[in-house]
Symmetry: C2
Subunit: 191 residues, 2 copies
DNA sequence: CCGTAACAAACGAACGTTCGTTTGTCTATG
DNA sequence: CATAGACAAACGAACGTTCGTTTGTTACGG
């Protein structure tokens, strides 16, 4: 008989899964316990509060997106290369961490003011990376001159963030096809 | 002193506002009562359950989007004209009924199976309208030949649905500017 | 190598609070 | 005067969390 014991990371991961599926307020500590074969009360051996779990999941999401943006901004080559790196990195973050990404995108507003403003700042910085690269693309002639980097970055991020809503691992588009389709769509929109 | 009494529509409208802001599970009947200057229990003079309120709001959303799609499909002229009508109608629905739209887009999954599958069907039909018009555009030479109407409709709807997340009535883009920017972006992406 | 102390993980009961909802009563309006 | 709207009290269930305790594993001194 294999009695696997749970670690804190198991709890955080399961929390991400349930928060993504049912929402933060739609998930009870007893729900979360059941998911791990535990009582709700047993979770407090690993975490200090339910809010704490949300903080952990959302901050991991913020870290993942931030790292992806930093990586893309450092890509040498044309603005088009960096633009594609932003898209490729975003796709990787979402499909490799779908629960974290969904919780980050949908449940961050349930955080208290302090933590939420940290997340808002992270999101603004992430959008700033897109704006920067798009502005580079405009000034270097890769994109149309009449596009507004601010508005365009919102539109492009809209398409990327929606991935969380419809992507299925067993769907017809694998990672590479997804990046191709998204890059083509977004690049065409700006060219 | 004007003590306006509340009607059922007042309750549904306030429910839409709170569901949009805090989510269905993040809104209590006492919260909703406070919003109207009532006790939570007083709401039961108007509705039979909290779930009922969600059904009302979400179904109104479904009706609004469906009507908009029907209207756009009936537009005479080029596929480009119908495509712009789809976008224009979507923008109108969202900015004129922001709370209903947000609840429809984000809280429909909290419905029980029966009602949710009705909403999923409505959403599929709405996406179908986009797919149809895009396919017309491809076969009549308005859009690129190598685009997939199914994938493209998802991408275009991603941009439109995200409007709910960042649109502010006092923002720099008014309705017409919004329709212009979105139509330009989407049409460029497909051309 | 054995025995024991320390520890982390989980239990199960209970806490106070909030939840959605029901009930019976009052009040104002048409 | 009938009725719809609101009140206020109360219901049982569920909530997040705490508590004292038990269990299984790990580390170490003799």
């Amino acid at each position: 008989m294999v009695t696997t014991r749970n670690t804190r990371d198991d709890v955080v991961q399961a929390a991400g899964r349930l928060f993504a599926e049912r929402g933060y307020h739609g998930t009870s500590m007893r729900d979360l316990g059941s998911e791990l074969g535990l009582l709700g009360s047993s979770l407090y051996a690993h975490v200090s509060s339910k809010q704490d779990l949300l903080v952990d999941v959302v901050e991991e999401g913020a870290r993942l997106f931030e790292a992806s943006a930093q990586n893309a901004l450092a890509v040498e080559g044309t603005p088009g290369d960096r633009f594609r790196a932003l898209i490729s990195g975003h796709v990787d973050v979402v499909i490799d961490n779908i629960d974290v990404a969904r919780t980050f995108l949908n449940e961050a507003r349930m955080l208290d003011h302090e933590h939420r403003s940290r997340v808002v700042a992270a999101r603004d910085a992430y959008e700033g990376a897109f704006r920067t690269v798009i502005a580079q693309g405009v000034s270097e002639g890769y994109f149309r001159e009449d596009i507004d980097p601010k508005t365009s970055s919102i539109f492009v991020l809209s398409v990327l963030n929606a991935l969380e809503r419809w992507y299925r691992p067993d769907g017809p588009l694998d990672r590479d096809a997804l990046v191709d389709e998204l890059s083509m769509f977004a690049a065409s929109a700006l060219s």
